[in-house]
Amino acid sequence: MTDLLGFALFAAALTAAAWALAAHMTRIYENAPARAERGLYRLAGVRADVMQDGRSYALAVLAFNAAGFVLLYAILRAQAVLPLNPDGVGAMAPHLAFNTAISFVTNTNWQAYSGEVQLSYLSQMAGLTVQNFVSAATGMAVGVAVIRGFAGRPLGNFWTDMTRSVLYVLIPLSVVLGVVLILQGVPQTLLGAAHVTTLEGADQTIARGPAAAQIAIKQLGTNGGGFFGVNSAHPLENPTVLSNMAQVFAILLIPVAFCFLFGRMVRDTRQGWAIFAAMGVLFALGLAVIHLSELAGNPLLGAGPNLEGKEMRFGAALSSLWAEATTAASNGSVNAMHDSFMPLSGLVMTVNIALGEVIFGGVGAGLYGMLLYVVLAVFLAGLMVGRTPEYLGRKIEAREVTLAVLAFLSIPLGILVGAALSATVPQAAASVQDAGPHGLGEILYAYASAVGNNGSAFAGWGAATQWQTTALGLLMLLGRYAVIVPMLAIAGSLSVKRQGVSTSGTFPTHGPLFVVLLIVTVVIFGALTFFPVLALGPVAEFTALRAGQSF
């Protein structure tokens, strides 16, 4: 009961804060650039005042991210000889640097490395933290451009949208969150690791560094890559219940705000509420399953909640909330080991990611991902009211459907083909830690995580092999850009369409009926695609567990 009350309070506070943030963001994205900003653009040599169409917006995104990849790869490979390396960390192996660079540029933040032993402070600060900001800002910029397209306006300018996302949304919020975390005891220092003598007289090295700043943006930007290897389960990354609540709040804040931003920018807040409601219902259902499974615990171990792999300071309820939030929102940071969750919890987390990260999802990315489902839902059901399907007064025709199908196809293609290869090829299958259906669950989770740009994994799964770093790196690219490019194209195509009037004969895209329709579309298109393999993985594990068999 206390848990339920806590969840409800959390939801209410989150919704209110996101609503307020959306108002702030609307002003930011709809106002003309300030003078200081224009100086920045001149310095960077970009034309920030030109309106871009879908194609040039996408090209700007790709060029910017490609440059980010090259820079980050270079830093990781050369970190041994670069400054700010008090602990003398060596150069990162090429395949690992490839994987890490893609991972941070695509907002996945999959960690095949362990931060405290494989990264210098420079890599953390100038490499990863920078990408934490700009990869998030890229997602937000694309999200805003897609919203403008759906609203029938020019898509805007990538450089402006990206810069403003960093300057006026991500940095201020990060400063606030960073200070809160420092107050809770998260380190923020450039001194090297602390060397202490324990009570038993043994020497212990305690890794530390400029953590608070990076953790703040890792949560706000749905990045998820921790400063330390075990992420927010680490006592210095997430020391208290308050720091835990602040972080899980930060994970969902901007993604939720994007729903309301959508409603505001299309000049019909009901549309934003409808999308929020569909996401909210899916979120609540997922949380319910995870929480109940974890509370029930493992029947083979007797009564009581499942606490394997969890931090005792958080317990089952806060670990469940975090697990749902981090998988729904494409964040990927963890405060408990997902590998140790109950099979049904693992199922929900995998589905959250495999849907394409559309339950709030990544910053910006969650909204444009959900709009992909909206296009499909509107097309199918729109025909049933006897008109050419339309959304917000603009017709959904062959071009939009083709692009939506292409974008959607990348999800099962990446996850299923990647995972199937990984289950077959011997050097890939070696990454699997556990036998039977749980092993299949590990593979599936890893590939879903890469394609969905989530970044979390079932711990114990060997992510650092050459096969996995390469395959997952490529799939992160697929999962990110095979959705961004078609969605920008859809937005570009819708932005120039004539807007029809809304009459009692047009398909209503707000209200409970549409919310139900959207949820069912997400479930049937998204989840059903993975039903066979989920049956062999988590579902089989669940039924076996009930019969007394564990893996």
Binding site: F379, M384, V385, P389, S504, A540, A544, R546
Partner: protein, 661 residues
Amino acid sequence: MSNLQMAAKAAVLKLHPRALKANPVIFVTAVVAAMTTVLALRDLLTGATGAGVNLQIALWLWICVLFANLAEALAEGRGKARADSLRATKAETTVRLLATMDDPAPREVPSSALKAGQLVRVDAGDLIPTDAEVVRGVASVDESAITGESAPVIRESGGDRSSVTGGTRVVSDHLILRVVAEPGKSFLDRMIAMVEGAERQKTPNEIALNILLAGLTLIFLIVVVTLEPFARFSGLVLPVITLSALFVTLIPTTIGGLLSAIGIAGMDRLVRANVIAKSGRAVEAAGDVDTLLLDKTGTITFGNRMADAFVAAQGVAEADLVHAAWLASLADDTPEGKSIVALAARMGTHVPEEGEPVAFSAQTRLSGVDLPDRTLRKGAVDAVERFTGQVADAGLRNAIDGIARSGGTPLLVADGARILGAIHLKDVIKPGVRERFAELRAMGIRTVMITGDNPVTAASIAAEAGVDDVLAEATPEMKLDYIRREQAGGRLVAMCGDGSNDAPALAQADVGVAMNSGTPAAKEAANLIDLDSDPTKLIEIVMVGKQLLISRGALTTFSIANDVAKYFAILPALFVGAFPGLQALNVMRLNPESAILSAVIFNALVIVALIPLALRGVRYRPSSAAALLRRNLTLYGLGGLIAPFLGIKAIDLCVTALGLA
């Protein structure tokens, strides 16, 4: 051969790869069926276990393809008979080609050699060889072959009745025609192609839907192909035939099989309503229409004014006025005259009196009857006042002004020099029009009345009919402007017209319906042609367009919703060997040996079960989009989720009882 037999034969012929290629989902099904057949035969020869069931699965996959072909063939078959009768009127004849209008020595050429712009002479009894415009003469023409209307119509040069259609026959007199259609492109050719569905081009929504279905097919291909390595990882070997069966049941075969039948049947419904669509696009656009421009006359009101009331002059008994009006109108054959007789008869019984009828003449502008003792006349107010030399008394004058203000036409009735009173003639709204417009409003469609009447008259009729807007004293330019304004506001506009001056507006409208009696210019500009020349048809066309889209959406939703049950039928049967616990997913409690076969049989039978629905179209009652969505989502979405659970279970019981697996 019966219709069904012919369709069955056509269904088999459609197995040709070239015919299958047009439909990606069914093409893939056929490929899988062929592959499965080979594998099943191999099993049979090697004596592998389960060969019998595998052969049955292969057989049902073929049946699925055949049922899809049958649906299309049945839809096409409905148009065939009509096409054959039309083709009969297109028989080759010789025609007399003129070099000039006054060419004394016409050249005889075969009708198929005629080119646009050539002059032809046709006489009574001749078949008009192709679409043409009358350049000289007046004749009555029998158009029953095209319209089904048996009364001949007048066709004459100039004006709005100058167009003749190939396949119609001259009944009297002769005409000189200028050919307007290239050979093979005439109206009749187009109509034949359309009713046969031969030259059917896919409509925009159909193309989009096909892309979605192809995408879904590709997704399920990925799902099924990757299932094999996942199963192998889990220590299971899945036979290819089983995977094929899973694949075919998951891809949207139901809608894939019925999609073209729905399209053809939709066009056929238009043909039955005697409307020819020049493109499928127009039919879909009709479903999208937001604004209907309707001509007042013929659509909203009857073509003629009718008597509505009598107003007696001071000192005249109303019964006397009514009786006099009745007598004066008995011999009047005009609709107005008949309506006066009808109204008078409703108000009392009248005894006819011997007399000499006086017909309407342009000089007096009066008509009536000369009785032995009385001269009864009726006519326009000024004409009667001149005839009697009297003016209407003050009370009557008030009434007359009132009638004029309300948009009606006052007539006076006189007995000799005495004015008896007035008759109120007014436009009578067709019965049911008001309700029809209310329905349209519920559907979100605005109705606009177009009339040449003055604004006062127009407003009063508009209020009575319940239209949303009026365009009074309308000129062709005003119509065009109105359409452009509506379109600029994001509305799709439909209108109908017949005159040449309607052509620009017809072309500008998103859906333009030309009357078949109209000019070639109007017909060329429109994208639909109504053979009955009935302006109310516009509303019917909108309904057909909507029903077409709804049928497609409903069956697609049904098809996709079916997948849930199919997973629950097939997956437990596949996996239960390795994971006995997955029996929990077997909610239908199917027999593992027969479950896959049952799902495949259901998949095929559901197509044939839905053919009648595809041909007839989903029931459509005008209502708001929200209500329609709720109804159709429940019926086809929820129904599509539940129906296969029941259907597959029932089939499985039969399969088990018959010992098929």
